[in-house]
């Protein structure tokens, strides 16, 4: 007989709800941080909601009452702060009051380097029998409260913490039995408060996304029959960002007056017939084959 798994796994984890914190005043940034854009062109708030939606039953945006009608925030289901001047803890308090049965995945909206892998790792490592699960900062070793899971049992402790006049969420996580994880990628949880930090994060985001977008390869292309006449050459080598023969033919069709649509052609790579979606590799020799007429 197989043994029952130990201790904690017998208890059902509370349903996970998501909360993106967008109630800040962005004083140091001088513009609304929720609306900032990086390489993927989405406002930060929307990007954070999309990242988190994959993991939660419901997603909410935490706002101050006077921000509720702001157009970007008005697109999302909201939970309004009930306390002023408590900082991010006000959002979590309001969420726990509204849905006390839920565990909350809390995310700040100003984490441009946060990626899906970091979020996935947090949720795989979630410890539902603890009060919270959070990463340990790669900068100072303290808990990162704004990319963390707060279980229902943390609510009473948090209310007591605030009632005692405290409002630092990092110290709160240190005061309870928080499961602390090592950050998988350095800087993944850097938050952005000033125009200088925004600029430096923008550079990092560009470095992460640019190599994929601008990847190019050297190819040789040989032309036969009608395509040879229309290209005005037998062969050429070129540097292209085309990833497949289909993309390459589209690119060449903008340069040469090809009359044959791709549907009428076949493709060979390195002297073998291949599919139009075959990924092109550095150094490949590509031939587009017009309708044949041997015999």
């Amino acid at each position: 007989m197989s043994s029952a798994a130990g201790g904690a796994s017998g208890a059902e984890a509370a349903p996970l709800y998501g909360l993106v914190l967008a109630g800040g005043r962005s004083t140091r940034m001088g513009q609304d941080k929720a609306a900032l854009r990086y390489a993927d062109e989405l406002p930060q708030l929307q990007r954070a909601v999309q990242l988190l939606e994959a993991y939660v039953v419901r997603a909410y945006v935490s706002v101050r009452a006077d921000q509720a009608a702001e157009p970007l925030r008005a697109r999302f289901a909201q939970i309004r702060d009930a306390h002023d001047n408590l900082g991010p803890i006000a959002g979590l308090l309001a969420a726990q009051a509204q849905h006390p049965q839920a565990a909350w995945l809390v995310l700040a909206c100003d984490l441009p380097l946060l990626d899906d892998a970091t979020l996935a790792h947090l949720l795989r490592a979630r410890a539902p029998t603890r009060s919270a699960t959070a990463y340990r900062s790669s900068h100072d070793g303290l808990p990162e409260p704004l990319c963390a899971v707060y279980e229902p049992r943390s609510a009473a402790a948090l209310r007591a913490w605030v009632a005692a006049g405290r409002n630092c969420p990092r110290k709160f996580l240190l005061s309870v039995d928080t499961e602390l994880l090592t950050e998988p990628a350095a800087r993944a949880l850097d938050n952005i408060n000033t125009p200088q930090e925004y600029g430096s994060a923008m550079d990092l985001v560009r470095q992460k996304t640019a190599p994929a977008a601008a990847a190019t390869r050297n190819l040789s292309v040989q032309y036969y029959a009608l395509l040879r006449e229309q290209a005005g050459r037998r062969e050429e080598t070129l540097l292209t960002s085309a990833r497949t023969p289909a993309e390459l033919y589209a690119e060449l069709s903008r340069r040469y007056p090809f009359s044959l649509p791709a549907e009428m052609l076949r493709v060979a790579i390195n002297s073998e017939f291949r599919d139009w979606a075959t990924p092109l590799q550095e150094g490949d020799a590509v031939v587009f084959i017009p309708p044949v007429a041997g015999g």
Binding site: Q222, Y224, A225, L226, R228, S259, L260, P261, E263, M264, A268, S271, E272, F273, V287, I289, P290, P291, V292, A293, G294, G295
Partner: protein, 154 residues
Amino acid sequence: MVRFEFARGAIDTASLQRTLRDPACGAYAAFEGWVRDVNEGQSVRALDYEAFEALALREGERILNEARERFGVAHAGCVHRLGELAIGDLAVWVGVSAAHRHEAFLACRYIIDEVKQRLPIWKKEHYLNGDSGWVNCERCAAGAAHVAHAHPAS
């Protein structure tokens, strides 16, 4: 033994036939394709064959192997001309030797049909009226353009 080859000059069928001889074979079947003076109503003066040789040689060998496996023939070969040909010239030769005539005929028919469909070989016809065109390309390209015009996007 003959395999698939290209020829830039006249094809010597007598010597090709000798390479297929085999004491175990009682049958030899061959096909010859000749340049005709009319195609689709237009008078043809001459034509040019062009091939993507690296791929055509591989694919041609595959076709010959398929014929041997499917029909159990002993030997099979095919030679295709390249370059400019005149009316009446031999453009393609297929030869097969086998124990009996039935499989020899079948294999010969199979090889020429597959060669015409699969090998990257193109034929440009030069017409008596001075025009020229790539067979199977120009007309279909014009047809495709016509379809596009008949159903404009948006």
